[in-house]
């Protein structure tokens, strides 16, 4: 793409906005003040406008900073794993995939993950490397989980859900924390978060963290043992916000992260992975007479090296996004959001054969939230994406497509609609529909890589996966338990599911296996959650999730699967999470239990068309944290994960090990 033109256009828009904001008010979201005012979690992740989570027309959850602090987890994916409808597959020490509403797999491509609205999933394939996200747990204000497709608001990848990580505001919040952690697997970790301000006109928050830990030493197929990599993470992030006018703020962010771990690939095999990521971002936020306007320009750079027994792969990916949105209110009952977005996503393959596959996406979206009366509100959102694919440079001889055939054009429509009925100020019912679009990734559509004697080839004619979701939800506070009830039932159908390495194409140059759409899959499910408090000291939470999937995939031949995609048998049907917390004086005790029913999960120790189903028995696992406040500044915490057994099988990857960690943290 022409980066120079994009930057120029962005600068012009930013300048125009800055000039149009005289005599108006406020800017970035003040989550803290709004939550204190309404006494309830506040979100912008549901439909792009600030609202109480209970008023949102989608099923969602908010994990607070206090819940993060009291969890047994030491990383982002661990924080998510006790939530209803969220499945975390921990593949190795340091690598996990997270799915909302089932369909988890190595390199899950159905989840959109954001940090303050900036995408942090990796856009060459649409997967998430959770420890590559340049955030320390101590700087997170809340994590918002939106369940179900939401691409009409956020764009591609938000097909099964959205995880928006909201950090403290550098201009409004003071956060100064440091911690050191040691534990089993030779775990050593340090973390620092600091903030400072200049005359209330400039706020800065800097965070840094590093972790080293051994890989799990559980039985691993011989062919994969050489790929096992110890876990190492280094992360640095700067977030700043400047009050450049009474009603306008300028945000500048930068981050870098280096993570080595043993990944579980979409081919269902282990591989050593080295992720090097950098990002830069500039935002202008202004409360104008035309509404709350935000201009956002950012770029994410990825340098990924993957090593398997048959494949050495280097991926250089850069995505640049420019987004302009306006949120405004018409009259007393119509909240509106209009947005435009340009995205350039490029994947170089120079480490392999040369050439670049890229696409440009132009998007236009609109959201209309109509507060009909005290009892009803209706929200509708549409988004149109126009994707233009392009490939330049040399190609591998066995690839069955000419470069000109990669000049594909894709026009997609995403829809979200939700009716909220609040009949009595207490009960809330939601009826919602979402049509999510999972666009082909650059790997799906045009990557080329030699894997032993075979060439893996992207397919420029592959269709996007479409996910239609229908949902009914009910929630209410429950005074008798001093808590809340939340329920949801849903039906979801995914059509044109994509897979890499599917269709063999023989030529005199060799064998290429091409990405294809492989069929559809339906899911029906439900979740129910109760939480409550007993007296001043006790709190508890209990949730159950049902996910039942029926695949119609062109996959099975005899005892093996030809494609590393299978959801019906690999998604556990029943999951139960329970947690119990007790806090008194300087002590905090938290216990987390989890039951996951049995499943048969796809496995392939080497990248090949011969995949098998690995039985994974139902299991119960427990985690815990005990915290003791030594002084006003220092806290000592003992955390244990999967503590009931020395090692246990939770996925088709090698067994996980018990982890016990001791953390000394300081708030200054």
């Amino acid at each position: 793409m022409n980066m120079k033109h994009t930057s120029h256009a962005a600068a012009v828009v930013l300048a125009a906005l800055a000039a149009s904001t005289a005599n108006v008010n406020a800017q970035s979201m003040d989550y803290g003040s709004l939550q204190s005012l309404f006494g309830a979690p506040v979100t912008t992740s549901a439909i792009g406008i600030p609202q109480r989570a209970s008023d949102a027309p989608v099923t969602m959850e908010i994990i607070t900073a206090d819940e993060i602090r009291r969890s047994s987890a030491t990383d982002l994916s661990g924080v998510l794993k006790n939530r209803a409808g969220v499945e975390v597959s921990q593949w190795t020490n340091g690598a996990s995939d997270v799915a909302v509403r089932g369909y988890n797999q190595g390199g899950n491509t159905r989840l959109l993950v954001l940090v303050n609205g900036r995408q942090v999933y990796l856009d060459h394939f649409g997967l998430v490397s959770w420890n590559s996200i340049p955030v320390q747990l101590d700087e997170i204000r809340q994590i918002e989980i939106v369940k179900g497709p939401n691409t009409a608001l956020f764009g591609f990848n938000a097909v099964s859900g959205v995880v928006n990580i909201v950090t403290y505001n550098p201009l409004l919040d003071d956060v100064d924390k440091a911690s050191v952690r040691v534990g089993t697997q030779n775990h050593q970790e340090g973390s620092f978060v600091g903030s400072f301000k200049l005359n209330d006109k400039a706020g800065f928050r800097i965070s840094a963290g590093g972790t080293d830990a051994d890989a799990f030493d559980t039985p691993t197929p011989v062919v994969e043992r050489a790929t096992l990599t110890d876990y190492e993470r280094r992360s640095l992030s700067l977030d700043s916000l400047f009050q450049i006018a009474g009603n306008t703020q300028l945000g500048i962010e930068a981050s870098t992260n280096s993570t080595n771990d043993t990944d579980f690939l979409p081919t269902m095999s282990l591989a050593g992975a080295d992720y090097e990521t950098q990002s830069g971002r500039i935002r202008l936020l202004s409360d104008t007479s035309m509404g709350r306007v935000e201009a956002d320009l950012y770029t994410n750079i990825l340098d990924l090296t993957i090593a398997t027994p048959t494949l050495g792969l280097n991926i250089d990916n850069q995505v640049t996004v420019f987004r302009l949105q306006d949120v405004f209110k018409i009259g007393t009952s119509h909240n509106m959001r209009i947005s435009g977005e340009y995205r350039h996503n490029a994947l170089e393959t120079s480490g392999n054969n040369g050439g670049e596959i890229s696409y440009d996406v132009f998007s236009l979206g609109g959201m209309w939230n109509w507060v009909i009366n005290d009892k009803f509100s209706l929200t509708n959102a549409l988004r149109l994406d126009n994707l233009k694919l392009d490939r330049q440079g040399p190609k591998l001889p066995a690839i069955p497509f000419a470069n000109s055939q990669y000049d594909a054009n894709l026009l997609t429509l995403s829809v979200n609609s939700g009716l909220v009925w609040n009949p009595d100020g207490t009960n809330t019912f939601r009826l919602s529909y979402g049509r999510g679009v999972e666009a082909p990734s650059l790997i799906d559509a045009g990557f080329q890589i030699r894997n032993g004697p075979v060439v893996l080839a992207g397919n420029p004619f592959i269709d996007p996966t479409i996910v239609n979701n229908y949902e009914l939800a009910w929630e209410r506070p429950l005074a008798p338990i001093n808590g809340n009830l939340r329920t949801a039932v849903f039906y979801q159908k995914s059509t044109d599911i994509k897979a890499i390495g599917v269709r063999p194409v023989f030529s005199r140059f060799g064998l290429a296996v091409v990405s294809e759409n492989i069929g559809s899959s339906e899911m029906i499910g439900g979740e129910i959650q109760l939480d409550g408090k007993v007296g001043e000291h006790w709190n508890w939470k209990l949730n159950y999730t049902l996910e039942e999937i029926d695949d119609s995939l062109a996959n099975r031949t005899g005892p093996f699967l030809t494609i590393a995609k299978e959801f019906e048998e690999s998604t556990p049907k029943h999951t139960v999470n329970a947690q119990l917390g007790y806090a008194i004086d300087k002590w905090e005790f938290d216990l987390f239990g989890k039951y996951v029913s049995s499943s048969d999960r796809v496995r392939s120790p080497v990248i090949s068309p011969v995949n098998f189903l690995q039985p994974v028995d139902g299991y119960v696992t427990a985690s815990a944290r005990v915290g003791y406040k030594l002084t006003e500044e220092f806290t000592l915490a003992l955390q244990g994960q999967d503590i009931q057994e020395g090692e246990m099988r939770q996925t088709q990857a090698p067994k996980t090990e018990r982890r016990v960690l001791l953390t000394l943290s300081s708030e200054f």
Partner: protein, 183 residues
């Protein structure tokens, strides 16, 4: 499709029956509380060019109306020597609806219920100084005599009269306005 829809529907239906059968009645509204004023103070923090620091709040009441007097006294007790919430500290100043000259210099006005006959005069006085009027009497906002109504049970509810707000040249942060009800 071989999905167990029957089981799911039966389970959900049972839960609905059990839970909707529980005694979960909403409590009747009581007099103004400390919590109501905490919400008012935090709401004032979202005003453009709103009051800062320690704010004198006029508690305007009708002295010959026992209900109004009781509400005013409850408000005075709730604010005590000064109630801190967010960046503001609210301090009570008792003002009779018959003596609105005492409104000069206050940062906000709390209009106690039972002042219906004086609300036109209170609004006029508030307009003169551009001082926001707040109440726990919904009718005052619905009639356009007060800017903001606040309730805190069963959950926080804020109602803003847009026309009155504009007439008094008062404005709020747009995020705040999207989260409250406007008429």
């Amino acid at each position: 499709m071989k999905l167990r829809t029957g089981l799911l529907i039966r389970t959900i239906s049972l839960l609905v029956l059990v839970l909707t059968g529980m005694n979960l009645a909403t409590p009747a509204r009581a007099q103004v509380t400390e919590k109501d004023f905490q919400v008012m103070a935090r709401a004032l923090g979202f005003m453009t060019n709103g009051p800062k620091g320690t704010v004198d709040v006029a508690i305007v009441h009708a002295p010959d109306n026992p209900a109004s007097m009781a509400e005013a006294q409850a408000a005075q007790a709730a604010l005590g020597e000064g109630l801190k919430a967010g960046a503001l500290t609210l301090r009570p100043v008792m003002v009779s609806a018959d003596d609105l000259g005492k409104l000069a210099g206050v940062g906000a006005i709390f209009v106690a219920p039972g002042t219906d006959a004086q609300q036109d005069a209170i609004l006029a006085a508030a307009k003169t100084s551009g001082t926001i009027t707040m109440t726990t009497d919904r009718k005052c906002v619905e009639a356009g005599k007060c800017v903001m109504f606040v309730a805190t049970a069963p959950k926080v509810e804020i109602l803003v009269n847009k026309a009155t707000e504009a007439a008094m040249n008062i404005s709020f942060d747009s995020a705040f306005k999207m989260m409250v009800k406007e008429i």
